[in-house]
């Protein structure tokens, strides 16, 4: 295994451009490399913007989903490297699991490490997990696992079966209705750095095969968690499956159900068609 420590966060627009240019001719197994950054300090302005866009209260602890935006540029750098077997354009985020050991203070220096694992066979292609570990004071306090589906791709011989489902209960009671405006993708891109063109405008989304721009899955997840602010335990696991794309603009509903002390099931669905965008399970650790 090789481990590379980066001084700064990679520049995302350049990475996405490079990803588009180097999409062809990839293959093989996952690279055995890890990318890391050490002593990362959270930018208060970015955090405030993120909290506002996702509706988290601005507090002295990071929102549960925020470390993802710290680690994501490293994951993109890993995926755009020539050694990565799948082309980034066309990858679909289908599942995201976050494990939080304890709340992370805004001022804590954080060590980030990302890697890829679990190249798995899916009925319509292959999946790969982009993992992240965030450490503070020498201990891992946050783990993230994003599962991406590459349609039409092939996992290597002997690969395990993909695991993209999250099971939840009935969720038949609406807790909130969100009007998601057509600039929701641009707003989240600005505060998260995820400038994937499929989220930015109808035109750029069409170039990648979507009829309209789609909301960031991680924004939908963050907003669902923000809606439960004050009701979640400090140490928790949040496992969500992203089902159908949330086209912009849309009106969607959030349904919640408490399943145990500190445990919740959530679903985000289209208000008109009931199309399921996200289902998730939040459990105390």
């Amino acid at each position: 295994m090789s481990r590379t420590v980066l001084e700064d966060a990679p520049a995302m627009p350049a990475l996405f451009a490079r990803a588009a240019l180097t999409a062809r001719g990839r293959g093989g197994d996952l690279p055995d490399t890890r990318l890391a950054r050490e002593g990362v300090q959270v930018d208060p302005a970015q955090l405030a913007g993120y909290a506002r866009v996702c509706r988290f209260p601005l507090a002295d602890a990071l929102p549960v989903t925020f470390p993802h935006v710290l680690a994501f540029p490293l994951q993109v750098a890993l995926m755009t490297d020539r050694s990565f077997p799948l082309a980034l354009p066309g990858l679909v985020h289908v599942r995201n699991r976050i494990e939080v050991e304890r709340p992370i203070g805004v001022g804590e220096p954080l060590d980030l490490e990302v890697w890829a694992e679990r190249f798995a066979a899916h009925r319509s292609g292959a999946t790969v997990d982009l993992c992240a570990a965030v450490s503070a004071g020498g201990a891992v306090v946050w783990r993230g696992r994003s599962t991406y589906l590459a349609r039409g791709a092939h996992a290597p011989e002997g690969a395990p079966a993909a695991d993209v489902e999250v099971s939840v209960g009935a969720l038949d009671r609406m807790a909130a209705q969100w009007r998601v405006p057509d600039d929701a993708g641009r707003r989240y891109a600005k505060v998260s750095g995820d400038v994937n063109p499929i989220h930015l405008s109808g035109l750029t989304a069409k170039a990648f095969g979507f009829k309209r721009a789609i909301a960031h899955g991680m924004w939908v997840k963050a907003r669902a968690l923000a809606a439960l602010s004050g009701r979640l335990p400090d140490a928790l696991t949040v496992d969500v499956a992203f089902r159908k794309p949330l086209f912009l603009p849309s009106t969607v509903t959030l349904s919640t159900a408490q399943v145990s002390p500190g445990g919740w099931d959530v679903a985000v669905r289209n208000a008109a068609s009931d199309t399921e965008h996200l289902v998730g399970a939040i459990r105390p650790r």
């Binding site: 009671r173 807790a175 909130a176 209705q177 809606a227 439960l228 919640t256 408490q258």
Partner: protein, 427 residues
């Protein structure tokens, strides 16, 4: 501090007729309406240049410049400028909560007299600059150098010229209050016809009360209005049946523009005092504010209806006073929506709800409809959010006084944010 508490007396009230939104009061601000209402009260009870203990009032939709709305209204009124004042805000519970706060200070002997009130305008509403533009302007304001200022100005976009308009929606659920009420109406299987019946009764009762002069010493004409503009004395089931539902979806939708309260402008005020103060001033005691209770429900994730909190507050207050729901001569259940009144009463009658949600061995039981909102309520009068409490307290106190000593009245008001305020008055 007083060794013993005493019950605060309700001396009387005053309000201006309630106007439909963007109509008779479209040019009047909250401060204009509250000042006019206070002056009407001053004139009615001879309070010119007098200092009352405190004036407590509020508005739900409020301009940021109105941070001291009540004090500014007092300064513009004929009350002594030495009268202290403060603002409260508890959504539609504001007016009743203000009366409770004044009554509690009187009960504790901290003040001898006080005025509780409320005002709201949906016409002269506080439009805010677009949230993005606001942030640009804030950074422009804090920029120290020309390049910083230019950078801030570069953030301005044409779309930001669209202002933020206040919506009658719950911030956490994104649903209009009517949509919430429709969900509750469906859960409690409240039919269209019973809602329309309640609505017609509200109009007829209010019209009859005007006709018999009941409001002669409760309402002061303002800007050309002498009666509530929303009042339709000739309201009938046949007419209401023609209306299309505006809240709820599909076949089961029952809530119309008639059996839901319209957006309204108006203000109200109530004079409270100790019995001694009233006697010294040669003023009557219409009733006493005996007790009050608030409650809140989890309407976001807890599965309870947004406007169902009064159902929870009621048994707590009744138990503390050793009373049953039937021990009252008059009931004032605020008609935010006809379905809200009906859902609340149905909940009190429901053994399962009373056992599981309220923790009671037996249901609270039913209310004699002949005693309910006998002088009309919000469906007919309209509902300028913070002004409704004062309208109800003054009207009920007068009704109790007319009925004779020892009569009891019950008030129940639901409020945004899943809150409820209930109170007991006794003559």
């Amino acid at each position: 501090m007083a060794a013993q508490t005493r019950q605060a007396a309700i001396v009387g009230g005053n309000r201006i007729p309630f106007a439909r939104s963007n109509s008779a009061y479209s040019r009047a601000s909250n401060q204009d309406m509250l000042t006019a209402t206070l002056d009407g009260l001053v004139a009615r009870f001879g309070l010119q240049d007098q200092q009352v203990g405190e004036v407590v009032a509020g508005a739900v939709l409020k301009h940021s410049r109105d941070f001291n709305l009540t004090r500014e209204s007092v300064l513009g009124s004929r009350l002594s400028a030495a009268t202290p004042a403060y603002d409260v805000q508890q959504a539609c519970g504001t007016g009743l909560e203000a009366a409770i706060l004044v009554a509690n200070k009187i009960a504790l002997g901290q003040i001898e007299s006080g005025i509780a009130g409320g005002v709201d305008t949906t016409s002269d509403a506080p439009l805010a600059v677009n949230e993005d533009l606001r942030r640009v302007l804030i950074s422009l304001n804090s920029a120290k150098t020309l390049p910083q200022r230019l950078k801030a100005l570069a953030g301005i976009r044409p779309g930001q010229l669209v202002p933020e308009i206040p919506r009658n929606a719950e911030p956490r659920t994104g649903l209009a209050m009517g949509d919430h009420a429709a969900i509750t109406a469906k859960e409690w299987e409240i039919g269209r016809e019973e809602q329309d019946e309640l609505t017609v009764r509200s109009h007829h009762n209010l019209a009859a009360a005007y006709d018999r002069g009941f409001f002669d010493d409760l309402v002061t004409p303002y800007l050309g209005l002498s009666r509530d503009q929303n009042l339709r004395p000739d309201s009938s089931l046949e007419k209401l049946a023609k209306l299309k539902p505006v809240f709820g979806q599909g076949e089961g939708a029952t809530m119309t523009a008639a059996n839901s309260t319209p957006l309204t402008d108006g203000a109200s005020a109530v004079l409270l005092a100790s019995d001694e103060w009233a006697a010294e001033h040669g003023l009557p005691v219409l009733a006493h504010l005996v007790d009050a209770q608030t409650a809140a429900v989890d309407y976001v994730h807890g599965g309870e209806g947004l406007l169902m909190a009064p159902a929870y507050a009621m048994p707590v207050m009744l138990a503390r006073n050793g009373l049953t729901l039937q021990d009252f001569d008059f009931y004032e259940i605020h008609e935010a929506f006809a379905s809200t009144v009906l859902s609340t009463m149905k909940a009190w009658e429901d053994p399962a709800f009373c056992k599981e949600k309220l923790g009671l061995d037996a249901p609270l039981g039913s209310i004699d409809r002949a005693k309910l909102n006998v002088n009309g309520s919000s469906l007919a009068a309209g509902h300028p959010f913070a002004a409704t409490g004062g309208r109800i307290v003054a009207s009920l106190a007068k009704q109790l006084h007319e009925a004779g000593p020892g009569k009891r009245g019950l008030i129940s008001i639901c409020a945004a944010g899943g809150q409820g305020v209930v109170a007991i008055l006794e003559s």
